[in-house]
């Protein structure tokens, strides 16, 4: 599903050039659950941003479903993103002015789903995430775990093929964290590909494979049994 080859990314300031990704090559197959680990500054988040088409690589190739997407313009990237990729962030990134229902509905609005259909789909996913009773609440009225469940609901409402999760449990206590990991595992079992950046060995154990990065390069890959 994802094949990146010799991917490069630099960050330049006036005086210093930092290499974030150094000719990195990774394959992810459809239905896989991959964890990416490594110390701070090793390039994990940069990799996730490029995979999510939020950022441009400076070199190398990125095939998404066998299509070269590295040189896509902003409009094409947005289009591919909204139909294929769901995001889960450490800090939830819910919009404070919108209710739970409206936050989850947002991706459907952007993909042009008719209003009548949206209600059913949002309710279904809220139900699945066991957050239906909070549908009319605003994010700041929810606990961290509940907020992340909403964020996951929002990520999956469009039935994306790929979910990118950036430290999804980083802001949660262990019991809420476990719940979110169970949710992701369920989604993966139903066929969604998941790539997750994490610092937590505990969370990484939910995945099929761990890719460890250092200085923008793969240093080790562990296949989980």
């Amino acid at each position: 599903m994802i094949k990146i080859t010799e991917l490069q990314k630099y960050y330049r300031t006036e005086e210093v050039e930092t290499i974030a990704l150094n000719k990195l090559s990774i394959d992810v197959k459809e239905g896989e659950f991959v964890a990416i680990m490594g110390p701070s500054g090793c390039g994990k988040s940069t990799l996730l941003n490029i995979l999510g088409l939020l950022d441009d690589p400076d070199g190398g190739s990125y095939l998404f479903n066998n299509i070269e997407v590295a040189a896509f313009n902003e409009r094409k990237r947005a289009d591919l993103r909204k139909h294929n990729i769901g995001f889960v962030f450490q800090s939830f990134n819910l919009i404070d002015e919108l209710t739970v229902f409206e936050n989850v509905e947002l991706p459907l609005i952007y993909t042009g789903v008719p209003a009548a259909e949206r209600v059913g789909r949002v309710e279904k996913v809220l139900d699945k995430m066991q957050i239906m009773h909070r549908r009319n609440h605003y994010p700041q009225q929810l606990s961290g775990g509940q907020q992340q469940r909403v964020a996951v609901a929002r990520a999956v409402v469009n039935n994306p093929k790929l979910i990118l999760a950036d430290e999804p449990t980083g802001n949660l206590d262990s019991s809420n964290g476990n719940e979110v990991m169970e949710l992701l595992t369920d989604l993966n079992e139903q066929g969604t590909t998941i790539i997750m950046v994490t610092h937590s060995e505990h969370d990484a154990r939910y995945s099929h494979r761990i890719i460890r990065l250092l200085d923008g390069q793969t240093v080790m890959e562990n296949i989980m049994i």
Binding site: E74, A78, R81, N93
Partner: protein, 804 residues
């Protein structure tokens, strides 16, 4: 999608109540000020446009240069109207008007009416004056007939259809009412409640081409070119006035032009008269286009300041919105949706501001009318243009003010936002700094403008005007006393508390006056002419008004030869060019050929008798029994008793006519009422502009402080005291205000100097005026900012650091 935009926009605005309130309040104040000024400007621009044929109506002006004297008149000769209609096929019709006044008898009372105009019958064809009763074509054809307004009919008869009724004017003259017309629009350069038939007036039949007394209006045929007629005026004058000119000044029109003098006619469009014409012999005092320009500019400035506030506050708080933008983009929102969302917020704010502005306008309109001397009312007529204009305005202002924030905010790259790269939305916006400078430059400009106008008005009112206008009672209808006027004067002079009294044709504060040529010798050479105002006075005139004689002597009752004597003002002496004018002789023409000699016996110090915008022109005083006006110098602590004694003397002589008096200082102030009003309006709107600019600055400084909460916390932990923090936070803004001062001061100095050039007597702009303006702006800005800075500096650093 629109529903989603509105919902998000509304919630976002409600969440940031302080920001929203500042934005809406600033915009509402700005819009309200703008609307009031727009009402004023529209009112001024719509004068005379009620006439259906307004675009085809022109007035004939006269332009006369005699030696060094040039006078432009709004009036023309009696036979001109008829001649134009007869000789020029392009002229469809022509009408003459001449303002007058009379007293109308109602029961035992004589009521003074001043909105009286002599008019040709064609007035109803040229102007749009709908008749309620009576026949337009024949209404004013007979002498002593009159068409009155509906409200006048109600005033005198309590009913509208009064055709055929008789009004008695000036005690015994019957006037037959031949028509009742709708009340005239107040938006007219002349206003009449009575149109009296022109044929009543003897000199309307005059065939003379050198006396001009009639405001003459020409109605062109559709498609005719007024320029063509104007080009033929020289031939017209050659044809009709040459012989008369030859007889009066001893040379024909061509020779007259060759000698450096001229006698010309020109046209002014009807719709330009009210704002662009200020000639001798106007129907009534006109306004000036200058004020329309000034106020339009102020309205625009205020609106720009309010819009700038919106742009600045929206971009300043961009960091608060950045995350939302990032998330929406990650979820697949195209940029146009985000732009749409932010524009919707902007339009919502504008809409709310407009609603509040309308409420403010409705509340403030009576006060504004009072201030501006207008009688603007929000009626169906105004609403037909106001409602669409407001809707378009809301969309335009919303989009204009929201465009920059929308483009700026929607341009955030999600990856940057989510990485926290845009956490500081406040710094780094050159545009925002530029806009703050721009706002304050406008405010400083307005402060300088206000100070200069205020000082100039004060100067005008306190300047030595060459006579003492205090404690002079003016009796405006002393002519009613007829032959008894002099008896009245002598009796009044006997009253205790009366210092002196004078009977005269003109007082320095009275209205229209006449000019005539005086020759230096009997050759009638225009080069040896002055063209002064000729005032008929009595020997008490100079003493009563407290004028001073700088050379020669005053008139004396004891000198019988003074009937051929004149006293001239200093300007006349200068124009004449005599090294010592005393005992020199001037000649005045009578009956086209005879010249009468006058001996100069004295020179009176220049005194102002028209607007202080104009230079003093030559004036010649000569003795005559004219009882037009009476001036009484009083000196008493008990004015009410003296006034009632004067009234009693009046009643004893003419019981049926009411005495009409005023005080000279009040009349003088009335001459400058327009300027005073403009000054007051200017002050009000300048204050508003500054308040709105400060609202913006208040909001900006609040955000600046909020953005730097963490920095302030760290600095305090490291030992910074409150004053250091306040200075740090204030300095950025104070620098901007300082730049504004540097830019605005020279511009304001230049513009206001230009404005002052219009005044013959004017102040110099002192350096301290500019300094005060700059300091005021600086002080107001500092007070605004320091409120936020002190608040931020006093905050507990532990709290701010923990929250980060």
């Amino acid at each position: 999608m629109i529903k989603n935009f509105v919902k998000t926009a509304f919630r976002s605005l409600m969440k940031n109540k302080g920001f929203t309130a500042i934005n809406i309040l600033g915009l509402a104040l700005g819009l309200a000020a703008c609307l009031l000024i727009v009402f004023y400007v529209v009112d001024e621009l719509s004068y005379d446009r009620f006439n259906k044929k307004a675009d085809r109506i022109y007035r004939v002006n006269e332009d006369l240069k005699l030696g060094d004297n040039r006078v432009q008149y709004a009036v023309a000769m009696a036979p001109l109207a008829q001649t134009l209609k007869r000789d020029f096929p392009d002229v469809e019709n022509a009408a003459r008007l001449r303002p007058t006044g009379f007293h109308v008898k109602k029961g035992g009372e004589n009521i003074q009416e001043s909105n009286v105009v002599f008019a040709d019958p064609s007035v109803f064809d040229v102007f749009t004056l709908p008749m309620l009763y009576g026949d337009k074509t024949s209404a004013l054809t007979e002498p002593y007939t009159v068409v009155i307004s509906a409200s006048t009919a109600l005033k005198y008869f309590n009913k509208l259809n009064v055709v055929g009724q008789i009004l008695t004017i000036d005690n015994n003259q019957p006037l037959k009412i031949t028509g009742v017309m709708e009340d005239m629009s107040k938006q007219s350069h002349f206003y009449a409640d009575f149109l009296e038939s022109m044929t009543t007036k003897a000199d309307s039949h005059s065939t003379g081409w050198l006396q001009s007394n009639f405001n003459t209006y020409v109605l062109f045929r559709e498609g005719a070119d007024p320029k063509k007629l104007e080009a033929q005026f020289p031939q017209l004058l050659q044809k009709y006035s040459n012989a008369e000119m030859q007889a009066t000044v001893g040379m024909g029109i061509n020779a007259f032009e060759k000698s450096g003098s001229f006698f010309r006619l020109n046209l002014i469009p009807l719709t330009a008269i009210y704002l662009h014409s200020n000639l001798t012999g106007e129907m009534s005092a006109n306004s000036s286009a200058q004020y329309v320009y000034i106020f339009s500019a102020i309205a625009l400035f205020i609106l720009i300041i309010a819009c700038v506030n919106f742009m600045n506050l929206s971009t300043a708080r961009s960091s608060n919105r950045a995350r939302e933008v990032g998330v929406r983009k990650v979820l697949g929102s195209p940029r146009k949706y985000l732009i749409g969302q932010f524009l919707m917020e902007s339009i919502l704010i504008t809409l709310a501001g407009t609603v509040i502005a309308i409420i403010i306008v409705a509340i403030m309109l009576p006060a504004f009318n009072n201030l501006s001397g207008k009688s603007i009312a929000i009626n169906a007529n105004i609403l037909t243009w106001l409602v669409p204009a407001l809707l378009i305005g809301v969309l335009m202002i919303g989009c204009l003010a929201g465009a920059y924030p929308a483009i700026f905010l929607s341009g955030f790259q999600p990856v940057d936002v989510l990485k926290g790269k845009l956490s500081n939305g406040f710094k780094g916006s050159r545009l925002r700094s530029f806009l703050v400078v721009f706002q304050f430059a406008i405010s400083i400009f307005l402060i300088v403008g206000t100070l200069v106008i205020y000082n100039q008005l004060k100067y005008i009112q306190n300047r030595d005007i060459g006579y003492n206008r205090n404690q002079v009672l003016v009796i405006k209808n002393s002519y009613e006393l007829g032959n008894q006027a002099n008896i009245f004067k002598q009796e009044v002079k006997q009253l205790s508390g009366v210092v002196n009294a004078t009977l005269t044709q003109f007082l320095p504060t009275s209205g229209s006056r006449s000019t005539d040529a005086l020759f230096k010798d009997q050759s009638k050479d225009p080069k040896k002419t002055i063209f002064p105002q000729l005032w008929q006075v009595d020997p008490d005139y100079i003493k009563t008004l407290g004028m001073s004689v700088t050379a020669g002597r005053n008139f004396s009752e004891k000198m019988p030869t003074d009937s051929g004597a004149i006293v001239i003002n200093e300007t006349a002496a200068k124009f004449l060019g005599f090294s010592n004018p005393i005992n020199k002789i001037l000649y005045r023409g009578y009956n086209n050929s005879q010249l009468k000699p006058y001996t100069i016996i004295g020179v009176v110090k220049d005194f102002n008798f028209s607007s202080l915008r104009d230079n003093v022109t030559p004036v010649v005083l000569f003795l005559n029994n004219n009882n037009g006006n009476m001036g009484i110098r009083v000196s008493t602590a008990n004015l009410p008793t003296l006034l009632s004694s004067i009234e009693n003397k009046w009643k004893a002589l003419t019981p049926s006519v009411k005495i009409n008096y005023s005080f000279m200082d009040a009349d003088f102030d009335a001459t400058y009422r327009t300027e005073q009003r403009m000054g007051q309006i200017f002050i009000v709107f300048t204050s508003l502009a500054i308040i709105i600019a400060c609202l913006g600055l208040f909001g900006l400084s609040a955000y600046a402080a909020e953005q730097r909460t963490k920095e302030i916390g760290i600095r305090k932990v490291l030992g910074a005291n409150i004053s250091t923090i306040v200075r740090m936070l204030s300095l950025d803004f104070i620098k901007l205000v300082f730049i504004s001062i540097l830019i605005a001061t020279p511009v304001a100095w230049w513009v206001m100097n230009k404005w002052l050039q219009d005044f013959a007597y004017r102040i110099n702009i002192q350096w301290w005026v500019l300094a005060i303006a700059g300091l005021t702006a600086m002080l107001i800005a500092f007070m605004t900012i320091s409120f936020q800075s002190i608040k931020a500096a006093l905050a507990n650093p532990v709290k701010s650091l923990r929250s980060e």
